[in-house]
């Protein structure tokens, strides 16, 4: 088993750099404008409030666009402003690594699927309670259509005052969240062991998404100057027997690309990842959710011991704030979680801090409070440990 030592140090040369994981809520004025509705006064107040807090420099420009009828040109401009708005929001909250809150994406699954070849959407399936998502079916061999994150990255790169990390939904998650018709149909003559057939077809789909869709997208980002790309794989532990598919796909996606890569995984028993995850060849950091399962005693962070147990010396993106509740973690609690991680892992330079996951389900107020407290908690830990 390959011992995992490879990692890149933070460019900022400070302990516990603070990063976002990905999504923010869509600004209400953006939603109204894109839906062709009149932008109401409360939405403009939202714009004014957060422009003031974050030092956003383009409030007047946004207002000018919002007063115009929607066209392809104004839509592009308003989306770029939404990116800038999110970047300033994250910067002012004190983050060291930022992106655009995924302001230009529908969401993490539907956006890449709609920009790739081979998929069709049939309708909604339920996620839980009265929540649903559109699930696509892979009906043809998958393929690259366009570099779907390139424009947003190019814009964010020139706009951001801090370092950038680009979140990209990973091949296993895209496959797991889709129906698999094309690859299964090709194997459909053998009905004696359908479980085996489905598994083989799944592996083909995962690997084709990796090589035909994700890799060209990553290549485009790297060519455009991306220095750090986070592969989001929230589905990776759904079927523990398929974790080798994820590993193979990650390696196929990233091999030989000159960029820092990390992987984000959440809401899982991380034990099932080992030992397979040690075979990720170009992965410097595991960004993991913990706060959601913690009870203020840092007990949930005991799973960090897995890294010691398997001699996995990669960086850890430590989830210190729960993105599913409005209770805002105090800086002292966040500091305590960081210190626990230092005590467990030993080397403080391996630890980055972040929310558990994207903050898109929280309000802007709650998201800002959580992020600001993460930054403050990290600073407290820095003072205590340096």
């Amino acid at each position: 088993m390959q011992k995992q030592r490879k990692r890149l140090r933070d460019h900022t040369n400070k302990l516990f750099p603070v990063q976002e994981i990905g999504s923010l809520p869509k600004p209400p004025w953006l939603i109204s404008y894109l839906r062709g509705r009149a932008v109401e006064k409360p939405e403009l107040e939202h714009l004014a409030k957060w422009s003031k807090i974050s030092g956003f420099e383009a409030e007047k420009d946004i207002r000018a666009v919002l007063s115009q009828p929607k066209t392809a040109e104004t839509e592009k401009r308003i989306r770029n402003f939404a990116s800038l708005f999110a970047i300033r929001f994250l910067e002012s909250a004190g983050l060291d690594y930022v992106y655009d809150g995924e302001a230009n994406r529908i969401e993490m699954y539907e956006h890449p699927i709609r920009h790739s070849e081979g998929f069709e959407f049939y309708g909604h399936v339920r996620s839980f309670d009265d929540r649903y998502y559109r699930k696509a079916a892979c009906v043809r061999k998958v393929g690259f259509r366009d570099a779907y994150h390139l424009d947003e990255f190019t814009y964010a790169k020139q706009a951001a005052k801090r370092k950038i990390k680009v979140p990209v939904t990973g091949p296993y998650t895209l496959a797991e969240w889709s129906f698999n018709e094309f690859y299964q149909r090709r194997l459909a003559d053998d009905y004696h062991d359908l479980s085996k057939l489905k598994s083989e077809a799944k592996r083909e789909l995962v690997l084709d998404i990796a090589t035909q869709i994700i890799r060209p997208n990553l290549q485009a980002l790297v060519d455009a100057g991306a220095e750090w790309i986070q592969i989001d794989e929230p589905a990776v532990t759904t079927k523990p027997g398929e974790i080798p598919f994820f590993v193979e796909a990650f390696n196929e996606s990233t091999a030989g690309l000159s960029c820092k890569f990390s992987v984000h995984i959440c809401y899982s028993d991380y034990r099932v990842l080992y030992p397979d995850i040690l075979e990720l060849k170009n992965c410097s950091q595991l960004a993991l959710e913990f706060a959601n399962r913690d009870d203020d005693t840092a007990a949930a962070y005991a799973q960090l011991q897995l890294l010691n147990e398997f001699e996995d010396e990669r960086e850890v993106g430590l989830g210190v704030a729960d993105v599913h509740v409005d209770d805002v973690e105090e800086p002292s609690l966040i500091c305590g979680r960081i210190k626990y991680a230092v005590k467990t892992l030993g080397d403080p330079k391996r630890i980055y801090v972040n929310p558990d996951c994207g903050l898109r389900t929280r309000s802007w107020d709650i998201a800002y409070s959580k992020l600001s407290n993460i930054a403050e908690g990290a600073e407290m830990a820095r003072r205590e440990i340096s």
Binding site: G123, H124, D129, A137, F179, N180, A188, Y191, S195, K239
Partner: protein, 315 residues
């Protein structure tokens, strides 16, 4: 050959919208109930037109397999969202906080058998006691055996009421039997629970397994006291069942509810024939491998028609 559905059916796009709007307070409870009723009626019509022997109401207002029972039984409160086996769907974990008992609450909201059904009989689908126990958090019973026994007695009281209401077939969904690899001791407890459930009920009963390889536990469950055992053939190889003396009916889960690829009549016919010939059960009936709710409704309807066609053509 018989053929019928195994539980939850996906909501129509209209009901999806209505339930979303209701969650945001934009649709009244009465309007939402009307939307549910329209979907149930459409589903019952779909089944009766296909002349299935047993119709289900599709559990269209169930938020998950256990949710109604947090209202219908005492001693259960709702916990956090938890992944539903190996799916990208979630349920709220029941937390057993006190003794579980059915105290006579009305079952009408969650079990609907009052619609015209063209002579077909009603099948009720409930969680099996083992899956219910495994997927819950127990803070009230000192042993797992006590919990599963209490759940079996409570579910027995529920199905006794449902029988009075007109249901004639009770299917217990037990994905955990295949997914969790129960110990020998647990398998003995499950067997006892089914004796409690089935004894004297005077109706057809089925234990439906899915999401896992039934071949691993078939030795133990083959002599449980239900009339039928449902098998997920997308997780179980036919070969793993052939060595057993099947004196029960097999629910042949050959319509894949977790993939939108439509099954071809030819492959279904061969698969069903293979099960009949190699496993040689008392009888075979055609089912989806699990609830069709994992599909968009338009695909689920197509799969139901394939099921209906298969039961006619194979017969």
């Amino acid at each position: 050959m018989e053929g019928h559905l195994t539980g939850a059916f996906p909501r129509s796009e209209a009901l999806v919208e209505a339930s979303r709007a209701a969650a945001r307070g934009r649709v009244s409870p009465d309007e939402l109930e009307a939307a549910y009723a329209r979907d149930v009626e459409a589903l019952v019509n779909l089944q009766t037109q296909a002349k299935v022997e047993f119709v289900v109401d599709g559990q269209l207002n169930w938020k998950d397999l256990f949710r109604p029972f947090s209202e219908l039984l005492t001693g259960i409160r709702l916990g956090g969202l938890t992944r539903w086996f190996d799916n990208n769907t979630f349920y709220r974990k029941p937390i057993i906080v006190d003794k579980v008992r059915y105290a006579g609450a009305s079952l009408d909201t969650y079990f609907r058998c009052s619609l015209p059904h063209n002579g077909a009989r009603w099948k009720a689908v409930l969680p099996g006691p083992y899956t219910f126990a495994v997927m819950s958090q127990n803070t009230a019973y000192s042993s797992f055996g006590d919990l599963i026994d209490a759940l079996a007695h409570s579910l027995k009281d529920v199905i006794s009421e449902l029988k009075k209401a007109g249901f004639e077939y009770f299917q217990f969904n037990e994905p955990s039997i295949c997914f969790s690899e129960p110990s020998k001791n647990e398998l003995q407890l499950i067997k006892q629970a089914y004796e409690v459930l089935v004894k004297g009920i005077g109706a057809k009963t089925a234990l439906h397994t899915y999401f896992g390889d039934a071949g691993k536990v078939i030795d133990s469950i083959i002599d449980f006291s239900t009339d039928c055992i449902g098998i997920d053939f997308y997780a179980t190889s036919i070969a793993s069942l052939v060595e057993h003396d099947f004196t029960k009916e097999i629910g042949c889960g050959c319509i894949d509810a977790r993939n939108s690829l439509l099954e071809t009549p030819d492959v279904l016919r061969k698969l069903i024939r293979k099960v009949e010939d190699d496993v040689a059960p008392k009888a075979v009936y055609v089912t989806p491998n699990c609830d069709l709710e994992f599909l968009p409704q338009n695909i689920a309807v197509k799969k139901f028609h394939i099921l209906a066609e298969a039961k006619e053509t194979v017969a």
